[in-house]
């Protein structure tokens, strides 16, 4: 019996080791197999640890810096008592105001971002890291009591941070985008090329981009929304380098959000997709330059825009017909043109001749408040609220409605004298204005052209 007991004692530690390890392996296998997180244990541990960490963090955040500066000032007082008193107050005030300013600036930035983004967010503070050094995760001081749920996106105004991996009553765990298991769907700003962000290999790369795709260094990537975590349109980062790889491009990315070093974040409670911005994010944006001056050739009608739509072609046809038949649109006593006749063949270039000051397709480029002018420089039309002034004069921005009256060549009054096809003696009025009774000489009130006061 003693021999058996002694033999057992010699193997006791090994048996205990095997039992303990096997128990843990089985427990681990059960978790992996059922894909189930052992919430109770984690809740206990987190509930036990995070209050202490939260208190430590709050203490550090609110008092440590203050105390440090205070003791620093005590040293100064030892050296020079007289100067120290003033110095003490000034420094303390300085520290106080600086902290206030920094806090206010950060809070202001978060508030601005919260107000700007269509997604509903809640601000949170990072209070601790994960215990696994190779896994990138942090704890924030918001939990299920703040309506936070697992899987929600965590962002900052600068970029994405991560997603909520676990939720506890008062805190949540956020898995950072730099974690090796985290992938994010991204989309480039210019070419709208889709890829997958992977930061688990020591640096961040955008995968799944073909060599044939065009991605430039410095180009911005935004969330594409395809991962069902981040709403589309959040900034992710800029391209550091691009190199062709084996079938796929090697695109390295610099994250704009610095997820490992943030102290305050926003949890997206209710995400809303946004379009990919056409401009760089505000922190990278330089002062917006003035729009380029209008091209002289375009302004003088040397390069008129060609008709892009059927409506434009119809407008040009009616303009040409009106010119050929000496009809002034909107003018009183002007003969009704015959729209069934075909315009002369040479009328193909009519818009450029009849409209030297502004091509028909560029009427939307008129200054705000001005309106397309029909027939003559003194003709005006009520502004159309639907059409916006274009800074580039893009032909696609012509928004002439189909039910608009056929417009003659549009032109700016100052750039072109009255067209010979529109007799100056003939009365013309803005469209829609009440028609006065004829007086016999045909004189009517003439609306002054915009920007050209009557003399």
């Amino acid at each position: 019996m003693d021999a058996i007991f002694n033999r057992y004692r010699s193997y006791r530690s090994l048996v205990v080791l095997v039992v303990v390890v096997m128990a843990q392996v089985l427990y681990l296998a059960y978790q992996v197999r059922t894909n189930r997180d052992e919430r109770l244990i984690r809740v206990w541990a987190v509930s036990a640890v995070t209050p202490m960490a939260g208190m430590v963090e709050a203490t550090r955040h609110n008092t440590i810096g203050f105390l440090k500066d205070y003791f620093l000032l005590l040293d100064v007082r030892d050296q020079n008592r007289k100067l120290k008193h003033d110095n003490d107050q000034l420094r303390m005030e300085n520290v106080f105001y600086r902290n206030q300013l920094a806090t206010a600036e950060h809070a202001h930035a978060l508030t601005l971002f919260q107000a700007k983004t269509p997604s509903r967010t809640v601000a949170a503070r990072v209070i601790g890291d994960s215990t696994v050094s190779t896994a990138k995760a942090v704890f924030i001081d918001r939990g299920s009591t703040s309506n936070i749920e697992k899987g929600m996106a965590v962002v900052t105004p600068d970029g994405i941070v991560g997603k909520v991996a676990a939720v506890y009553p008062l805190v949540s765990q956020v898995l950072l985008v730099t974690d090796s298991t985290f992938k994010v769907g991204v989309e480039s700003q210019k070419g709208h090329i889709h890829g997958t962000l992977n930061c688990g290999i020591g640096h961040c790369v955008v995968e799944q981009i073909q060599n044939e795709e065009d991605v430039a260094t410095g180009e911005w990537f935004f969330t594409s929304g395809e991962d069902r975590i981040f709403p589309k349109g959040f900034p992710v980062g800029t391209v550091l380098s691009v190199a062709p790889g084996n079938g796929m491009k090697d695109v390295r990315l610099a994250l704009s959000g610095a997820p490992g070093g943030v102290e305050e974040v926003l949890v997206v409670l209710d995400g809303e997709h946004q379009p990919i911005p056409t401009e760089v994010p505000p922190e990278e944006k330089m002062a917006k330059p003035l729009p380029p001056p209008p091209d002289d050739k375009v302004t003088n009608g040397a390069q008129p825009g060609s008709a892009q739509t059927e409506a434009d072609k119809l407008v040009q046809k009616y303009q040409q017909l009106g010119k050929e038949q000496n009809h002034v649109y909107g003018a009183i006593y002007s003969n009704m043109p015959d729209f069934n006749t075909k315009p002369a063949p040479k009328a193909a270039a009519a818009p450029s001749e009849a409209n030297p000051s502004m091509p028909a397709v560029n009427r939307s480029a008129a200054p705000l408040g001005s309106a397309p002018v029909l027939g003559s420089p003194i003709q005006t039309a009520p502004p159309r609220p639907a059409s916006r002034p274009s800074t580039q004069g893009s032909p696609t921005q012509v928004t002439a409605p189909l039910n608009a009256p056929p417009a003659s060549a549009a032109k700016t009054p100052a750039a072109k004298p009255p067209t010979p096809h529109a007799p100056a003696a003939k009365p013309v009025l803005p469209l829609g204005s009440p028609r006065p009774k004829p007086t016999g000489n045909g004189a009517t009130n003439q609306a002054p052209p915009p920007g050209n006061p009557p003399q």
Partner: protein, 182 residues
């Protein structure tokens, strides 16, 4: 019985008597401090993310305790405490298994060698850090099928860093022992 074995026996007897004074409450408090330090310290010092105070405690307990059973149980306790604060995508038990083995091996080594020397303890500490990192990486790949990088050079560097921290930490723990003895 020669002089060295006599010294070894005296040393073991001394450490056993000292460790018997380590109460369970004290161990729990030490474990909590170690886990919280790993949880919170990187917020203050970012490079402290590689500091493995729980592992250093496990190694110390194993080296100072010749009986492997308490050492492996202590390792399992510390590891599971760490696991419970790990990211939710890592199941509980990864650190538990690793630190159980570390505790067992540390205690087994202390049964066969005199680990009273600081140099030997530091060398073993470095070895166990590398073993811990490598075994954890193997488990993540093998059991969880998670492809995570293993940087050997960086691991060795972090091992040296942890040994540098272990030196004063072990001295403090030794001093605590002496104060208990007196």
């Amino acid at each position: 019985m020669n002089e060295s074995s006599d010294h070894l026996l005296r040393s073991r007897r001394s450490t056993e008597s000292l460790f018997s004074r380590f109460q369970v409450a004290g161990l729990v408090v030490l474990t909590l401090i170690a886990v919280i330090s790993k949880f919170y310290l990187p917020r203050l010092i970012p490079s402290a993310v590689w500091l493995e105070v729980p592992l250093l405690l496990t190694v110390y307990f194993g080296l100072m305790r010749p009986d492997p059973v308490p050492a492996l149980l202590f390792g399992a306790f510390v590891g599971l405490a760490e696991d419970s604060l790990s990211p939710a995508n890592l199941p509980i038990g990864m650190y538990g298994i690793t630190k159980t083995l570390v505790g067992y091996f540390a205690a087994s080594v202390s049964q066969r060698f005199n680990v009273g020397s600081s140099l030997i303890r530091l060398i073993l500490c470095f070895f166990f850090f590398v073993f811990h990192a490598f075994f954890y990486w193997v488990m993540r790949r093998a059991l969880l099928e998670q492809i995570v990088p293993f940087d050997t050079q960086q691991t060795l560097l972090h091992g040296v860093f942890n040994v540098a921290v272990a030196l004063p930490l072990y001295l403090i723990l030794d001093r605590m022992k002496l104060s208990d003895e007196s």
